[in-house]
């Protein structure tokens, strides 16, 4: 479903071909190559790098969920951190109170996410646009309040420690194993999202995003599809939060601040709205950005001398980069990529021909 130009020889002759995820041979090989590289990374990389990549995978799940909701269905949500916290706390609470195993807590987290999706999606039926964005802010504060109350009343003032998921006596503690689990989760989420978009729901969301009134007149159940977007997105995010809880082995309310919500929104903007690949690129960029700044600063000057201003530089640089993308490249990284690909494809020409070989 890419919107960039393609080389000649690319034809579709059936609806099935139109809907395939990887239409050309090059794309298929590229996907295989990427998968092989990702699978092989743990064998050569340092533990730090493996940890970092695992973080990226977790971010990808959350970013894909948010992309579905905001990028495709067009419902602005600023409460993403609240959903992640809800999933994490579900795991924490079920584990501490009932010693529930992971195959119960993960579905429970999804259910909690779905429930929250319904509750905070209901306003979307009456309220739109910016008013909706602000009511989703409430989600952040609500979960922070509930989480803080639980931590205090039950005496976990430093947070809830969660044991790694175990099955028949084998615990998942090896970081390389976790890497593979999270990679699998990210790939599954990507496939799920792509399928949702290829199906009826995807087209309904595109119509709702373009113009709600017209969508309604076309017979698309706007209310139910909006709620569906909220429910699915929230459930996915809650599961991401639950995975985060297991991976870190630890749940605390401080990890889920409003800034985290803003980071996820930044991911889908920097990546490029309305594109799954954009969500992935955005997640990679935003997660690795602070480390890149750190590496850059420490090579530029005596690293430790500037330790105190590192976050300030990070935050300032993050804001500046977000602004730069919004002003200069509103289509995000994926827009850049498409332009790059088109440039090489059409070279030495600069524009696509008018008739004929369009798309």
């Amino acid at each position: 479903m890419s919107r960039r130009a393609r080389a000649s020889g690319y034809f579709r002759s059936s609806y099935g071909e139109d809907l395939t995820l990887l239409p050309t041979r090059l794309e298929r090989w590229a996907a295989v190559g990427l998968l092989v590289a990702l699978l092989g990374l743990p064998l050569v990389a340092s533990p730090f790098l493996i940890d970092l990549t695992a973080q990226v995978f977790l971010a990808v799940i959350g970013a894909l969920a948010l992309m579905l909701l905001t990028g495709y269905a067009g419902q602005v949500s600023l409460g993403h951190a609240g959903l992640l916290a809800a999933g994490a706390f579900t795991v924490g609470i079920l584990f501490k109170e009932f010693k529930a195993p992971f195959f119960l807590t993960l579905p429970a987290a999804a259910a909690v996410g779905a429930l929250l999706g319904v509750v905070f999606g209901l306003p979307s039926l009456r309220v739109r646009g910016l008013y909706l964005a602000v009511s989703t802010l409430a989600l952040n504060f609500l979960i922070a309040y509930l989480g803080g109350e639980y931590e205090t009343r039950r005496g976990f003032s430093t947070g809830i420690v969660v044991d790694p998921p175990s099955l028949a006596g084998h615990s998942l503690t090896n970081p390389k194993a976790w890497y593979l689990v999270l990679l699998a989760a990210a790939v599954l989420t990507l496939l799920l999202s792509a399928n949702l978009l290829r199906a009826r729901s995807g087209r309904a969301w595109a119509a709702i995003r373009a113009n709600e009134t017209v969508a309604e007149t076309l017979g698309i159940g706007v209310a139910s599809y909006k709620l569906l977007a909220f429910v699915l997105s929230s459930a996915l995010t809650a599961v991401a939060g639950a995975l985060f809880a297991y991976w870190r082995g630890f749940v605390s309310v401080e990890a889920f601040s409003l800034f985290l919500s803003i980071q996820y929104v930044a991911m889908i903007i920097i990546g490029g709205m309305g594109s799954l690949a954009g969500a992935i690129l955005g997640a990679v960029f935003v997660t690795l950005f602070p480390y890149a700044i750190e590496a850059g600063l420490s090579t530029l000057a005596r690293g430790t001398a500037y330790a105190g201003v590192l976050f300030a530089v990070n935050a300032a640089a993050f804001g500046a980069v977000m602004i730069a993308f919004l002003l200069l490249e509103p289509q995000g990284l994926i827009g850049l990529w498409r332009r790059l690909a088109t440039y090489f494809l059409l070279w030495p020409f600069r524009h696509r021909p008018l008739g004929g070989a369009r798309r």
């Binding site: 646009g129 602000v134 409430a138 504060f141 800034f259 903007i269 976050f311 500046a320 602004i323 919004l326």
Partner: protein, 290 residues
């Protein structure tokens, strides 16, 4: 009686911050989520002007206010103006990014420590006694007075002033206003400037009353429900919304559970929006674009 005074002070704080949101939204339909950070920047600018004009507190405050108004206009001219024609969400997210940038920049320049602008100005914070045994600090009283003056001024300006009428026109129908010959960019810059000015007043008075730190930006966010409950494009609504939110907060702190005071304003907002999706006094509008 002290309870009433507390509600009054908190209402004034929220109302003064909220009118900044309303001004920009009413005129250009953009939600300025960087208002809290701009407010904080103005208070930090006061620190700077206080050291420049040590011993002349009024000059320092006036200079800080002037600088803030200038910053507001510049933000529009160099940032938001480039987004004309893009979807509204892009403008909102640009302001979010601006907020993040400002937070980092203020820490870089002024460090993350608590600051007390009142000190270099040589201003002290005494209290006034009120009937009924209540007490209010001088700066808080000043803040209440300022809020009243600002609102009265804005009402008069929008209703009677020529530029005020142009602002209202630009807000109601930008295309027609432009056809009529109204310079939209100038109007928007003016709106941003006024908004940052009112925010600066709020930020500076709060900093003089109780100190300045990075949390001021979050306080800007807390005034949001106040602006929305009343309707994002209605000043009267902002006043009423501020009163409702402040009253709820103070009552909750006093009689129920202080921790709810963070969540409940937003829940109140959701309830009101469900009943009247455009706020209590907001105008119905086409909110289909996102």
């Amino acid at each position: 009686m002290q309870l009433a005074v507390n509600i009054l002070v908190l209402t004034a704080i929220y109302a003064l911050i909220a009118c900044g949101y309303v001004l920009i939204y009413r005129v250009s339909r953009v939600l300025n989520l960087a208002h809290g950070e701009l407010m904080m920047l103005s208070a930090y600018l006061l620190l700077w002007t206080a050291s420049l004009f040590a011993g002349h507190p009024l000059v320092a405050i006036a200079a800080a206010l002037g600088l803030s108004a200038l910053v507001g206009a510049l933000v529009y001219l160099f940032l938001l103006r480039k987004l004309t024609g893009e979807m509204a969400l892009a403008a909102v997210l640009t302001t979010v990014a601006l907020g993040v940038l400002l937070r980092g920049a203020t820490v870089l320049v002024w460090s993350a420590q608590q600051q007390y602008p009142a000190q270099p100005l040589g201003a002290s914070n005494s209290t006034l006694a009120l009937p009924g045994g209540a007490r209010i600090s001088v700066w808080a009283a000043l803040l209440v007075a300022t809020t009243l003056v600002v609102y009265a001024g804005l009402f008069a300006f929008l209703r009677l002033g020529r530029w005020g009428m142009r602002m209202r026109a630009a807000g109601q129908n930008p295309l027609l206003a432009a056809q009529r010959g109204i310079n939209l960019h100038a109007i928007y810059a003016l709106a941003w400037s006024l908004s940052t000015l009112t925010g600066a007043l709020a930020g500076i008075l709060m900093a003089l009353d109780s100190g300045l730190s990075q949390t001021m930006a979050i306080i800007g966010l807390k005034a949001f429900p106040a602006a929305l409950v009343g309707g994002l494009d209605s000043l009267a609504g902002a006043l009423l919304g501020a009163l409702m939110v402040a009253a709820t907060e103070v009552m909750l702190i006093h009689y129920v559970d202080p921790l709810l005071s963070e969540v409940v304003p937003f829940l109140l907002l959701i309830v009101v929006l469900m009943l009247r999706p455009w706020g209590l006094f907001g105008t119905r509008e086409e909110l289909d674009r996102v």
